[in-house]
């Protein structure tokens, strides 16, 4: 992969891309989140989507699953334009997608076992013994077979994330989407989740899209990365290529610098004048 500038077509757009976004515009309340976004995700790879907070990374995942609809442009998932799918087509496509939500999004009235079994019970009529074996296999893969009887509120943040991961892979999806999988995790849990993302991707032969701003961690396992800023892709490439990227935005993000094109402060009036202003708090 080669570094790419803003607004350019993905440099490695390929017939075997599992997800492709072309010229996608999306805005909320009149504020543009994406302006002509172009992204291509290669099948079988772990692709990181990075960028400062508020750049629409989670929104991107919701466009891929069509929980949100793009204002313009196309979103193609597994060869199908998601905008043209009817209800059945959409649900058929979603069965090929697993998604790990930032907080796990476990169903709080079901225990760990039933949470993982949930998609199987909803979509299949497998015998109970087979459901049990599949669920225990998936829980074993994330190291939580022993926690099958616990309720979600009895789990730590890292455990909940791993249970949600087991649920996400229980239907053997082709694409796994991760929304900030490392947020709020201790170093041990983070290392476990990191290794799981890579090992599941390779063992199951799936494609993984990881939305994160944990640059150092994701760089260890990602095959390719995109950096989003100001509604577009500002750079793409392997983690090594991004580290050597000349763009000030990319350099600031990759090195975690406070000073740079991305301002730490939200736009505000003059600090001194505001402090001395006695008319009000604003």
């Amino acid at each position: 992969m080669n570094p790419a500038g803003a607004g350019h077509a993905p440099p490695y757009a390929h017939a075997d891309d599992v997800v492709t976004l072309r010229g996608v515009d999306y805005s909320v309340g009149g504020k543009a989140v994406f302006k002509g976004l172009d992204i291509a995700i290669r099948r079988g790879e772990v692709t990181a989507i990075m960028g400062p907070s508020g750049t629409g990374k989670t929104t991107l995942l919701r466009l891929i699953t069509r929980q949100l609809r793009a204002d313009a442009g196309t979103v193609i998932v597994d060869g199908r334009d998601v905008a043209g799918l009817d209800g059945n087509g959409l649900y058929e496509l979603r069965r090929k997608i697993g998604m790990l939500f930032q907080n796990g999004a476990l169903l709080t009235d079901l225990d760990v076992f039933e949470n993982v079994a949930f998609p199987l019970r909803e979509h299949t009529r497998l015998p109970e013994r087979l459901v049990r074996n599949i669920v225990l296999t998936k829980l074993h893969a994330v190291g939580l077979r022993g926690a099958a009887g616990l309720m979600p509120q009895e789990l730590s943040g890292g455990m909940a994330r791993r249970v949600a991961l087991a649920r996400a892979i229980v239907m053997d999806p082709q694409i796994l989407l991760y929304d900030e999988p490392f947020a709020g995790l201790d170093p041990i849990s983070m290392g476990v989740v990191l290794r799981l993302i890579r090992s599941l991707n390779d063992a199951l032969g799936i494609s993984s899209i990881v939305v994160t701003h944990d640059v150092r961690e994701i760089s260890q396992i990602a095959d390719g990365s995109y950096i989003l800023s100001d509604g577009r892709v500002v750079a793409s490439g392997t983690p090594g290529q991004l580290r050597d990227h000349g763009s000030p935005v990319v350099k600031q993000f990759m090195e975690g610098l406070a000073d740079g094109p991305v301002s730490f402060h939200y736009p505000a009036p003059d600090y001194r004048r505001q402090l001395l202003d006695r008319s009000g708090v604003s």
Binding site: E92, R94, Q102, A105, L106, L107, P119, E122, R167
Partner: protein, 256 residues
């Protein structure tokens, strides 16, 4: 004055938008009813959650409403020397008005708020989004079984409320104040007709539909924040109470 009219107009627009959204939502619920009925276990679970778990409050309130009715009714009827009619008067007022209305208000406060806050929290914690991504329709899997559970539970709770309240009337009127037991029951049996029972059940069912729909609508469409869930819960109680009383007037006018 112009500002006041402007505020009124914008409030009216918001009200109509909300009404339209609820009508669309009701249409979606109705469209999913057959699919939900194919999985009765989910509905039975919700009848338990909304009905069985509300029994204690319904029975306690029913008992005290009946006892108050016994005291007030006896005091009033004694003035005319017809305290033996206490059973008849209490039964008719409970069957036709007090039973369905008070049960609906209690239902909105106990089961309605539980439904709204549960759905609102599911929205706030991405549980509903997770279902959508798992290709599971939250309307079919979560909303409709809860709605149906409320609709089934409400007439049953109304019947329980009326039965316990009648026991409360009898306790105060017959056991404490000395109304003749034979007169109390025989006048009640003689005056209460099938139409009176039907009126109570129709009201209970109608209030059940309204209160359950309001609860699941407010919860499902809650803003995904703590404040949003709180607001949805409050709106559920307030709107359910107002709608119950308005519907009560309309149904009474129709069935008189």
């Amino acid at each position: 004055m112009r500002a006041l009219l402007g505020d009124l107009a914008s409030s009216l627009v918001v009200f109509l938008e909300r009404l339209g959204a609820m009508t669309r939502f009701a249409g979606q619920v109705v469209a999913q009813l057959p699919a939900a009925l194919l999985r009765p276990r989910l509905v039975v679970e919700q009848v338990y959650n909304t009905g069985a778990l509300s029994l204690v409050i319904i029975m306690t309130c029913g008992l005290f409403v009946g006892m108050v009715l016994g005291l007030q009714g006896y005091e009033l009827l004694q003035r005319f020397g017809s305290e033996e009619s206490l059973g008849m008067g209490a039964a008719l007022s409970l069957l036709k008005e007090l039973g369905p209305v008070v049960t609906a208000l209690l239902f909105a406060g106990r089961a309605g708020t539980a439904l709204a806050s549960e759905l609102g929290l599911m929205r706030a914690t991405d549980q509903l989004s997770a279902m959508e991504v798992m290709a599971v329709d939250p309307m079919r899997r979560v909303v409709v079984p809860r709605f149906l559970g409320g609709v089934i539970a409400m007439p049953l709770l109304t019947a329980v409320f009326i039965a316990v309240a009648l026991y409360g009337v009898q306790l105060v009127g017959v056991q404490f104040l000395g109304v003749d037991q034979g007169q109390f029951w025989s006048q009640m049996r003689g005056a209460v007709e099938f139409e009176d029972v039907r009126e109570g059940l129709v009201k209970g069912l109608t209030f059940g539909v309204a209160c359950s729909l309001i609860a699941v609508f407010e919860g499902y469409n809650a803003q995904p924040t703590a404040e949003g869930v709180g607001r949805a819960t409050t709106r559920t109680v307030v709107i359910s109470a107002v709608v119950t009383l308005v519907l009560d007037y309309i149904l009474t006018a129709i069935m008189l």
